[in-house]
Symmetry: D2
């Protein structure tokens, strides 16, 4: 076992995601914190909260400044957050009188929470693009296979016919909802945090809200009251990531079942080899999506434990977010990447699909019982009659013909292709939600 | 230990909630399922999907019909859902030709999911009212105590002065966000489920979407494509309940700390007695809120495990929702009830609050260091000077006067009352969000 | 959705367990608490900690006394535990001078924790019997099907041949471990809790440990230092229940796969009907086991949240145990019940098993590559050669014969029956652990 | 937020543990897998399962061989496990005829699970040493402060007097249990995994169990039937780690409360500074322990999700263990490290402890009520009388003297020092368990 599937060079190529992980890298985090301090000085200079000369010096000196993350670790060990060490370093870099005006009014949590939001925004942009692309691909595939009839399964038993196009649309459904929820999500999540020591910006009163507003604009985040004790943004982001992860896991789980060697109706991805069995072609990518969903869901439960911080700041609960939210972001990012590969390579085995339909005519049992009911046979009679025919050794249509004296063209009525039209309509209704939000 | 804190007559008075539990009672669930079948027949009659005469008979016969829940339990044990037994019973009640047209096209999941949504709506109406009332009370109390200065605490250490009014506003903050999220929540959650055997309403094609639209209108739910495989509504409801629970737990946790015998700055609720210690006054209600939050958060993690159903219906994952969502609803409902009682009875001990301020003048250390910095002392010098004064045996203001040659009126500068204005502004910003959504 | 799957008359017949639930009923809990108080008085009388006359009166009066649980609920709402109300009631029942000597020294937690242990013991006895019986059945079935060859599947792909007897033994394996762990479990879990107000039995010093020892003997529990702050017994019980639940879910999950309509190699249980599809036979009991495992695992995560109580008693964390442990006990009990039914009715479809073997000769690919390697072909050459043959359109043995010039009797080498002996040995090794512990 | 608190150079110094992380490093994992393959060849050579000459070549060539982990990542991405790529690499390293006899019979899971067990053993040795050392320190500190009386608190309210020595013993209690459980734990956990493709070692039949036995001896692990489908070892390890983490979190949580600025009865560790408040001294290490406990508990819930693998190998559930178990090991290791530092530096503030006792004489209320009861006052009368005295403005002893006509030396009876003897006895009982196991 490695320290983490997301950082181990043995496992990261499968389970991690370079692009998301890059946005969560130590460098990116430090850069976000420096950006906070730099923009804070800039807006405080404009607002004359600090001397404008000092602000200009800070702004210029911090421009492009890089601080090696490993130089801040000891500071975290002693202070619980890297901010005091970073601020000391920034003051040393800037030097002179201007140094005193760095970090004028905020507290560590303002810096860390806001830097987290900058990272969250970068990650969400990436995830949004991937989600949109995946939905485009699923919509295409759903459209392509809109007339490909297959056996539906409920509670693991063959139920009634559906189409592959419809099944694909159902995979898309939670993702369509997640895409539609995104504008509201961004409004809820991407908030500047600015409150100072105890959340009231007391040290720079009465300028707190003016600084907060200007800084939010500068950073492109939403302004609002200090949320250091209101973890709604974190919870909302976690909930959305879990929703996306679950949606992808539904698709992956179905693909694993469809690709079992004893089913084999749909194939996708690149099959994984075995260390000892030459013939194996394992569903590595789909399995990874399922694993990643459990990682994301587990992490979400850890997020909840951070959501009721004590008093004005909680040093025990807050850091949980730094452990859990990144796991969710990376897991969701990696799962989207794999899902795209699966969606693109998805290929039905039409022969096996057709063979399944032929071998399981009893999937038309519901249809048969409705035909009988429409013809006046009571539901319970119809049910018995149909169940009897389905269990008989004879072909289903013949058994029904024998069992029932009505003049019904069972071969026509029991054609699974009758599923195509309603399946298509339902698939279209799902994708139509993308238009209307 | 009881079977459940929510049903045990020993524990339910503390941990459960009669009104929510009533909406989740077996009777209410059965009534919801019957309502689905009745309204389905009605709209199918209007749309001529079934004979209008039969529809009228069904509508009339099911009006007010009560089915004893315990008569359906054996059916659940055999079918996994109570619906087949219920439908058989309804057909027996209606009798004659009309009986066949009951449950025309839907599947068990349509009935159960829609009945769940009817229950969810009833619960959300109740919770919305309680949340609104609680926020009104918190706003009043925040307003009342807007000038009552108290020690803020970050990471368990006294930080800088705040006001009780501000602290109360911070308790309200996640709840204000939850209230604002409600319209979107209701749109996302309260959906009719209608899809039939495999989700495409194949049995009643091409009438599926017409029936779905009419039935949604009749039941007052949102229409849309079948979500039996897209558990977004359940996840969104769970996320919202967890958010509310966490918000309440933040308030309760703070009240527990403020009411500790060694702090005693705020009291509320009715203290619980001990079986052996005559003097005890335990914070029973606030503790219960914290317990309930953990119950809700734990249940939420179970919900996630249900969110990636296999194929067209998943009989193993789906029932988890029936175990987890009710726990979340009851826990949130009970917690809101207790929070209301605590909010209404919240009473500060002004003497102890003032004594704390007097005993901890070092909570003005940040202010002192900003005063020095504004006067041109470098931040690190200021920090050392202030930390030295805070650690000295002398009164803080005197120690500062001695330690620093500048002409500063320390008594005035270090008055904790300077916190009142910014604390009030932040509190007002929080409650102002209720207006703008 | 119901208040709880375990108490709803609609759902309990499938998901709950009457016998376990009976041991957790309010009546049983109250009886346990009364038994604690009665036996405490008895041993304190014997040890002259309280007047022996009073002890005798208490012992006699509490013998067979029943207190209606619902009369204690208001007391819980006010005190957080039902004990103060119960003690008041017992004093009223006993009356006179003796009344004062009831509850002499203990605190509420002593009563509740010890009553919990009495319930845990009753439940564990029941579970132990069920586990043992299930293992007997599995061993019989494993023995019965020890020569029935079937396709093994790894990562959802057909791997190499195994036997049904071996698969059944693997289902038993975690349960064999759980059975072997039971003696240690009982020692770890079944502890008397006795500590008084703050855990040191200060009120009856120096008699605390004498009373504790005598009371433990009287109640048949292990004596030891007060564990009110050391939740090891609860955690250990939870961990064991989760282990059993997971083991059962492994078996149930495999049975669900084996019983899919498109696999159908093994059937068991009584198939559940559908509300609309006459032909359906759903794996209700196996699905319920999987659901119950998720309920148990979710509850276990809630138990962990109770395991670090604050100071001398934690009123917020402790009650979580009362919500979570019962869910685990009932879920495990119900799952064992269903597993027994499945194990007893398990019936292979030998025709479908044989057809699978015939249709998938490539499951002998590993064997083929080992035959080649033993004959001197390098592993990578062998792998390519075998993979090529497996992918060819010809029968596997013929393809191999053509592809390789060596004189190998492929038909004999590739007989899946070669799996019987090693499968049998592994199955026997698993069940042999029952003997040696 | 960083990718992981355990790998970020910004956060690892506080939250990670170098020694545990070193044992989980990619290098260590690869070394463990190579060791498996090397020892397998060695024992197979001895047993003539493979040619002894080939075995000797393999043994010699793999001795000290290092394979750069990053060269195996692409192999994991394609196969789901790094083993096929590693085996290919080892065969290339060894070359010639011997190469074919590498990895003779096992499957990837045998290699990975056994390497995991070798890592687990290394980690457990380390944790065992730390646990033992921490218990020694706690025992010393408990002994040192055995007569230092302090206020006990139940449900956040001052209850009755205890000693600091007793409180420390209660912190040790779960850890004493964990230490005692270790021998059984090692037996349960440290198992060789050896089963080949589908768990029956079919490829090397009938030599499977001979090889397994010899390999287990060579690696110092327990032999037994293949546990690839029985995750008891993983679950048992996870349960133990969670128990230790919770125990440490109990201690840390209490230290956080005791060190609050408004309590300040005990100090320990090195206080963390604030980015803006000069006077702050935050309980960074104790908070980190609480955070780490939540990380461990969250990860444990993920482990449970891996515990019911499907069929002969489950590629979706199994990898969860690689993500969750390391988090638990590192979190527990880091928490033990911090706990040691806290235990060693723990220093009571005797003045504040004494002041608390003086200010809260009502903590003797239980004692007073027992004194009255022994003197013949009924329990309810005694309770009222004592509660009245506790609530009065007068000193408690005087109020009692006035309120009750009995001749009782209240000053003597209400001396908190009466708690010393029973507290000491309970502390000694706890540590005595270390002797007897």
């Amino acid at each position: 076992m490695p320290v983490s599937l997301f950082t181990s060079s043995l496992f990261a190529p499968l389970y991690s995601d370079d692009e998301i992980a890059g946005r969560l890298a130590d460098d990116a985090l430090v850069a976000g914190m420096i950006r906070f301090e730099r923009m804070l000085a800039r807006v405080q200079g404009h607002l004359s909260v600090i001397p404008s000369g000092a602000a200009e010096v800070i702004d210029a000196r911090l421009d492009g400044l890089q601080v090696a993350p490993e130089t801040l670790g000891a500071g975290t060990a002693s202070a619980g957050v890297p901010v005091p060490a970073l601020v000391a370093r920034l003051r040393a870099e800037v030097g002179g009188d201007a140094a005193s005006w760095i970090h004028w009014g905020p507290t560590s949590q303002d810096v860390v929470d806001t830097a987290t939001m900058l990272q969250a925004r970068d990650c969400l942009e990436l995830l949004k693009g991937r989600l949109s692309r995946l939905l485009d691909t699923l919509e295409e595939q759903s459209q392509r296979h809109r007339e490909l009839v297959m056996a539906g399964r409920t509670r693991t038993q063959i139920s009634t016919p559906i189409t592959l196009g419809y099944r694909i649309a159902q995979w898309a459904h939670p993702l369509v909802d997640a895409e539609a929820a995104m504008p509201e999500l961004l409004r809820t999540v991407l908030r500047l945090q600015f409150g100072g020591a105890s959340g009231i910006s007391g040290a720079i009163a009465p300028d707190g809200s003016a600084v907060s507003g200007a800084l939010a604009r500068e950073l492109g985040l939403h302004d609002g009251p200090s949320w250091h004790l209101n973890r709604t943004p974190i919870l909302a982001l976690g909930a959305w990531l879990q929703q996306v992860s679950s949606g992808l896991a539904k698709m992956a789980g179905d693909l694993i079942l469809l690709g079992r060697s004893d089913i084999g109706e749909v194939r996708c991805g690149t099959g994984g080899g075995s260390s000892t069995m030459p013939q194996k072609s394992n569903p590595i990518q789909a399995e990874a999506i399922v694993t990643l969903e459990r990682i994301a869901a587990t992490a979400q439960s850890g997020l909840a434990a951070a959501a009721a911080p004590a008093e004005e700041r909680d040093g025990a609960r807050w850091p949980l977010e730094w452990m859990m939210l990144p796991q969710m972001l990376i897991a969701t990012g990696a799962a989207l990447r794999h899902a795209q590969a699966l969606a693109e390579t998805l290929t039905p085995d039409t022969a096996r699909l057709a063979a399944r339909l032929a071998a399981n005519p009893e999937m038309m049992a519901e249809t048969a019982s409705f035909v009988l009911a429409r013809a006046g046979v009571s539901r319970s009679e119809a049910k018995d009659l149909v169940a009897g025919a389905a269990a008989s050794a004879e072909p289903f249509a013949e058994a029904l013909t024998k069992a029932c004296s009505l003049d019904i063209d069972w071969t026509k009525e029991l054609d699974p292709a009758t599923a195509i039209a309603p399946a298509r309509e339902m698939a279209e209704r799902i994708f139509a939600k993308r238009m209307t939000g």
